[in-house]
Amino acid sequence: MSRDDLRARGLVRRYGGLTAVEHVDMDVPSGQVTGLIGPNGAGKSTLFSLLTGVEQPDEGRVHLGRRDITKMRPDARSRRGLVQTFQVPSLFPSLTVADNLLVAAENRRRDYAGGLLGMGSRGRGNALGVVEEVLGSLGLEDIRGTVAGTLPTGALRLVEFARALCARPDVLLLDEPASGLDAAETEKLSVLVRRIADDGVAILLVDHDVDLVFRVVDRVYAMVGGRVVAEGAPETVRDDPTVRSVYLAQGPLTSQATTSLGPGVAAAGSPAAGSQAMSSAGR
């Protein structure tokens, strides 16, 4: 079975006078992990929202497989197989872990009206099967019944990841999945990402943790000032003079320096109001 890949061509997004994303082309091919790095303000997040549909580009197109999805809303893109995770874990805090996954597994259909009339458990078994499989493969069986709002950050990340998988993605967009995770958890995450890509899913990984990105990806894009300044195999990009100059200005490309590169820590530490319970493992 061939899966859809994600292609963006000539994306432009301007905010007033500032051009946050300037004519960016990007390919996220199936079965590969594609990385996106760049310093703060490089336009990574804007590009990410253009791909997920949270924002609309001023110019350019986004294609999922052969379909043009530029104008689609995020939920429509998700039903077509383009699924994202968030910088701040975004589970449904009042649902159990299993129900969180079930929401993702059963929303490729939209016929809600049947439920109103008390009908419609069609396809239920299928969704349950998907949930069970994902719970099993990520080792989450023991917390399936836990209310998501009571989980610590590390578990939240994993469950959000599991939820994304339950939506059966062709393309998986991960926004700083390692922020707030410790070294062991990050390691586990990178193994997981690799495994999913090997199943044929196209993965885009945006992260401040340059080490993580270079360790996991097949191909990497480096953005500076809204433009892609380098792309290619990790080694090529690492040795690219522009990329080196940008990162050297802030220190060498080592894991010690990566924390100074971005607000990854801050993102996990600041409690998102309204989901206080979810960010419990802050300080």
């Binding site: 449904f92 649902l95 159990t96 008390g118 994304a164 939506a167």
Partner: protein
Amino acid sequence: MTSIDLALAGISIGAIAALSGIGLLVTYRTNGVLNLAQGGIATLVAYVFREMVVEWDLPIWLAAVIALGILSPGIGLLLERLVFRPLARRRASAAESLVASLGVLVLTLGMTAGIWGLGSRSDAPSIFPNESVTIFGDTRIGVDALAELAMVVAFCIVLGLIAAKTKFGRQIRAVVDDRQLAELSGVPADRVAAAGWALGTTMAGLTGILLAPRFQLNPYGLTLLVLETFAVVVAARLSSMPVAVLTALGIAVLQSELKQFTLEGDAGQILIVLQSNLFIFALLVLLLVVPKLRELGNGDSGSTGSFSSRGAPPAGPVSRHDARRDILGKLGGAALLLAPLTFAPADLRSAFMVPALALIFLSLVILTGYSGQLSLGVAGYAGLGALLTLKLANGDLFGIPAIPGMWAMFLGALLVAPIGLITGWPAIRRRGLTLALTTFAVGAVVSRFVFEQPTFATGLYVDPLTFFGSELTDEAFYIFELVCLAVGLLVVRNLHHGRLGRALLAVRDHTEGAAAVGVDVRNLKLLAFTVSSVVAGLGGGLLTFSSSSFAADDFAPLQSLLWFTAVIVFGADSAAGAIIAAAFIVTIDVLAPAGSSILAVGILALALGWMPGGLASAVRAGFALVARTLADEFVPAPQPTRHASARLAAGGAAGHVPGVPGAGGGAALGELRIVLPPGAPAPTAFGAALLSAVAAHAARTGLSLDALPSARTAADDSTDGRELVGHRPHLPGYPVERGAS
């Protein structure tokens, strides 16, 4: 009257609206709370002012000093200290603050109505002499208008200078930006917030005293009048004071200018309504036009998850939800609802209101409790349902022949669906304050432009319902009401179950997250809006038939606010809570003087700070507590049950989660297992008691109690688990720590 005269006449109203707007903005900019209670406070102060002048014969200046110098700021300081400071401390969501200010509104309204009754008074004294001065030629302007204008200008300049030039102004900006950060930098945040409240409520009092002599003094009327000035702050996008002032003057002058025109036919009718209702119309138009208010805080303000009284709906084998059903509760509820059938005829008629009101409340449960959308306009849908039902029954709608009352009621309710769908449209992209104000404006516009218009709302006859030709007895009518309620409950049940229920809860809990996994957020919100409007319409129809008349006052815009508050108080996502709330309100209205139910709901709303899930969750927790205590008492060796446990951890870092390899960010302090009934919720209202139990158990097992000052529980495998942070003060002997994280 010439245009200039009309403009000058309008200026006075405009200046008062501007003062109200300044008050709202000051409170909002210093506290992040849009004070919906502004109207209630204004009315209360106006009544007290009148009491002092008319009944106690105090000189006007003295009464004004007492009312504006002591009473009004005192109310503000009291509110800040008792209601809003605790909310700010625990970083409550904007939705919670909104409900708290609604609670204050309902409370002040209840006090006013309780003390002075719901009737109108026309003897409100005026501060300024009823004189006018010549500006030029024949054109004269009232002294009051001049004085009011002068006050507006003075306030603008002084507040502008304070904000721009003084240290206090900088502190205000710091507090607004991030209260806790500001406190850490040594800014006296509480003082800033208190000053903002005091000034805000003083402006509210001033608004009330100035408005009262121009209109009749009436609790509902005056409150609504002040609420209409929200148009001004919406135009200012909740930030710019000059824009607010100019809008206020602009709308008022325009409204006054409209008086020189007359039109024929329907357009003329609309014009006449506009001549006295331009503010409310402007509020709706501005809300639809202004793309986004500059809401403070981060974008969670739409989340009503914090009003949730329990967790997820059962999801079959996956969540291993034990099939425990609170059959006892259901039987009790059914008995409660059937009891009126044994009442004396007069009492039975009083009980007619209960199922009708319960249906209206159920519609709010659907919208707010399940799909997380605030709605302050439910009375509009209920009233439309009632109106359409009567029109159908009278054969007065589009030439359709008269339909028997029973069918007219169902059909009328269904006809509300398209209206719900259309008005739900703007709700898709709106959240929090914007959504709350938009729905309020819709309800108010419908009330003013439809319910209060003779064209629509006169000549309506409420004939008794018939069933196959024979008139329904009181008992039969009540049973019919119960059947309608059952239909509503069935819809609510289906909305809360299975895939649909989960999807709705997902949207409520995290809209972006739901969209990210393919939940069709837009259609689900529209579905909730539409279904909710139909249920409200059915309730409205029943309400009209149970009181045998259509009265615009039954569906006044303020009713929406009262009903919404009642639903939140009794548990926003609890169907049983909706029914109990209806029974509660009707019972109090029958037994106690007018306004008592408003007062009761207001008091309960302010208690929400201590029981975020509403009464429903408090009651559930109460049962759980009793059951646990009994278990402790009679079961000799408390065994950890399979379904419930609580864990303690220090420093806000939760303990390890079994089965998640490597999960857990902090030092786990060891596990405590305490016995809870399977699936028992542990809401905060009973958090203190639960913590005591934890402490006792810890003492028995010899575990260190160092963990307790920042203890939190996670109810493992239960249907609910709630944070206990913030309730430590109740636990004797442990220091009080401040704030989250």
